[in-house]
Symmetry: D2
Amino acid sequence: MEFPEKAKVQSCVIKFRPRYNETDQGGVVHHSIYPIYFEMGRTELLRENGIAYKDLEAAGVFFVVARLDVKYRQPARYDEELELETVCTTVKASKVEHRYTLKRCSDGLILSEGSSVLCCVNKEGKIRHIPEFMYPAI
Amino acid sequence: MEFPEKAKVQSCVIKFRPRYNETDQGGVVHHSIYPIYFEMGRTELLRENGIAYKDLEAAGVFFVVARLDVKYRQPARYDEELELETVCTTVKASKVEHRYTLKRCSDGLILSEGSSVLCCVNKEGKIRHIPEFMYPAI
Amino acid sequence: MEFPEKAKVQSCVIKFRPRYNETDQGGVVHHSIYPIYFEMGRTELLRENGIAYKDLEAAGVFFVVARLDVKYRQPARYDEELELETVCTTVKASKVEHRYTLKRCSDGLILSEGSSVLCCVNKEGKIRHIPEFMYPAI
Amino acid sequence: MEFPEKAKVQSCVIKFRPRYNETDQGGVVHHSIYPIYFEMGRTELLRENGIAYKDLEAAGVFFVVARLDVKYRQPARYDEELELETVCTTVKASKVEHRYTLKRCSDGLILSEGSSVLCCVNKEGKIRHIPEFMYPAI
């Protein structure tokens, strides 16, 4: 497969609603669900740069999460519309860093902030350089 | 790897407690979790017959769920001790069928009953015969 | 809150893509995820009839899954676009039944079919009649 | 309900095996599962001090995750025995902090390290002091 030129888009926003099974008996979205939302954000950011993560995998390029940090400010609730901003903050050698801001759409309240470090590995799990196109244009 | 002789154990019981994230805001275990419990039951039944499912996969033998049926009688709750009985009811050609009964340990109340049909496939997903050893002794 | 008149919409179609965490090491979407998709379908069908499930809950009307049946025909894969049709097939007294068809968008291949029976209960979990508006118009 | 005296146990170890559905198509346990393991660790640490988290909730004492930090060092795999050490590192006013170390049992390899900050809230989600008994003896 062919990779696109350079990454032109460094941030994106997705909207979605928490599913019923994502809540817990405390009545709010369980904290283990937020990393799943963050991953959805990364997937769409990649797609906006012209490539699907599954195509990267097909080309032998895998990204594994090496570090995750989440601050939970306010609870997210079932079926309310949320907005997640994902920003790619650093790309170097074998690492990509992102920052996340999760907001409630109705009033813009920040529910959570987070960050992650991904490592680029090959099919055998060995660290490798990230593909050229993932470096930001400029 | 070597497979054991014949399957000598046709049923097993496992005990466990629902995790917090498995509940939903209705205050009980979400219905999508029960198939996960059933799979845990199958894994242990296989282990009691001397083989781990991961070793089957390593040997190119995969089982995929073709049919699932669950009756939910009473809600399961966070952290209460549950007991799941898994019975292998049919083994033939490329199919294995199981029946499940989930009970609350404190009083033996039946919370759920279910059944499943698994198909045996190879690494490419093509249907294949189940390994000889999985047929019941006798 | 006010309920709408009568249910005018008996079926709906939603589109979505499986998330990475929904796959398992077999390389396809885990079978326990399909009931979650079905629930998403019911939520949107209700919304098309003018009410959100969370508003039903706020009004003391809960639906619990009493029976679930799933046939898995072909595997669903990470990030491919899927289309789920949800049809409300029966409404009576305290029960609502739905039928589900999950297809791959690219070629219309049916991946899974399922059905469910929901019971209507009050906040204490006692069976109650379903709200009038949920009966189909006509 | 009656609370125990003082927390006498500041750390505990639990053993368990990753479930099949916890893996992803990368062939390892998905990173969003680790916070679930950590929560299991906290639950058992509390139990070793003589109280179940569900009893705390019944008494109007809830803990919500305010901060989570995870380092992923090596992948965890399906069905291999893991050992999680949970240590309560700080208790003060409305906060409890824990540290986690996840190891592979077969060789003691550290797979992941993490930490979390929990806030104590009442049923309405307002911050409250943690119960007296949760302070460490001495």
